[in-house]
Symmetry: C2
Subunit: 259 residues, 2 copies
Amino acid sequence: MRNKTVTSAPAIILVRPQLGENIGAAARAMKNFGLSDLRIVAPRDGWPNEKAETMAAGAEDIIAQARIYPDLPAALADTHRLYAATARRRELRKPALTPRELAGALHSADAALKTALMFGPERSGLENDEVALADGLIHIPTAPFSSLNLAQSVVVCAYELWAGQQEAQPDTSLSAHTPPAAPDDPPATKEELGGLFEHLERELDTGGYFRTEGIRPHMIRNLRSLLTRASLTSLEVQSLRGVVRSLAEGRPGFSRPDS
Amino acid sequence: MRNKTVTSAPAIILVRPQLGENIGAAARAMKNFGLSDLRIVAPRDGWPNEKAETMAAGAEDIIAQARIYPDLPAALADTHRLYAATARRRELRKPALTPRELAGALHSADAALKTALMFGPERSGLENDEVALADGLIHIPTAPFSSLNLAQSVVVCAYELWAGQQEAQPDTSLSAHTPPAAPDDPPATKEELGGLFEHLERELDTGGYFRTEGIRPHMIRNLRSLLTRASLTSLEVQSLRGVVRSLAEGRPGFSRPDS
């Protein structure tokens, strides 16, 4: 049996944020609602960013401790569960949660799982390839024809997580989506999952699986998405890599990879 | 019997806001969560404000329709229920609600009541004299030693009202605080209540009730606060004015007021 005690506070990942003001406002919202792990992927205006520091007003420590990454896989390598905030409906089959449902899901999740919430750039939002890496989508309910800005989306999510921690939340439907792993087989980190993706895609490339270059991105996105949805454990990732290796082994042009 | 259907959308009153950016961000948050009645009391940088328009991004209509007032009583004259967002504890005896409890209270309130939520200036927050006019306080739960900025506070409140409208909310304790008025005796507007305050205080001044000028503001604040807490109806306000008139009538120096 596993503990269902205090959930570890999720990381906030800002993917290619454009405005320093929004980074600062996000940090301030995090500080207010007990979050501290800020990760920034390829900030448009570089780092450090003076406007981010000014807007943080009291959350300078969050800004000072923020980690900067060149790409999304690096930012989420040590996480186990990833949620993507997105205003648009996506064709990807992912469970969609309101911020309140997310709070309930995290409350009932295993505290040993490292969770991250990611938010896309102000203008365009997250790319489909990025959303494909998420275990679930966060949809903030709003009036029609509206859109929250980046920092406001972070405010609402962080607030709900905090409010959910203050009052005992009942389990939500997502706990069914996240089957508990056994103690000796922890959930795979996103880095392990990324290793599986690369391994699989390399072998598919070698075997000519993708008929045309045009179709490749779409198929890869769907593969990554469905593998993410499986909530794989570490051992399951190893097993699947064994499966890929085994399938590829007899093919013409096969060479045993290092891992 | 009175209807308990859809609550009329509350007005948002920004009291002496300093930064146009925050006015714009508040307008954007309102738009996202189905609110449109923005009232601004004595904005520091005047009106119109270019930065407010820029930050509104999609909520220009809210900015264009915003009404500007020289003082708070003018801004809330037509309202029946007023809630003050405040981070500090106040010595005034007022019911304090979280944004979620506020959503529940508004949901179960009479739709004919015009409600307003007011937010103070960025640096200092609302004055005690302003808070005294409120029927209830809004406390946004945050981590210790933190403070939300003005626009973020509006985001959280507007979000909760919207989320509360989407899911049926149970009645909360505040419905006890707000006894339903009879159909032929509607709740007093804040303008009517303000008329009572002025009438009473004028008579108290005439009678030398306030021993020293130093003690006057504090005593007035407490009087206004307790009269507000009574959730008076229109008829009750008239009755109380009759009481004040009657008590004052025989005094030396009394002259019958016009109203």
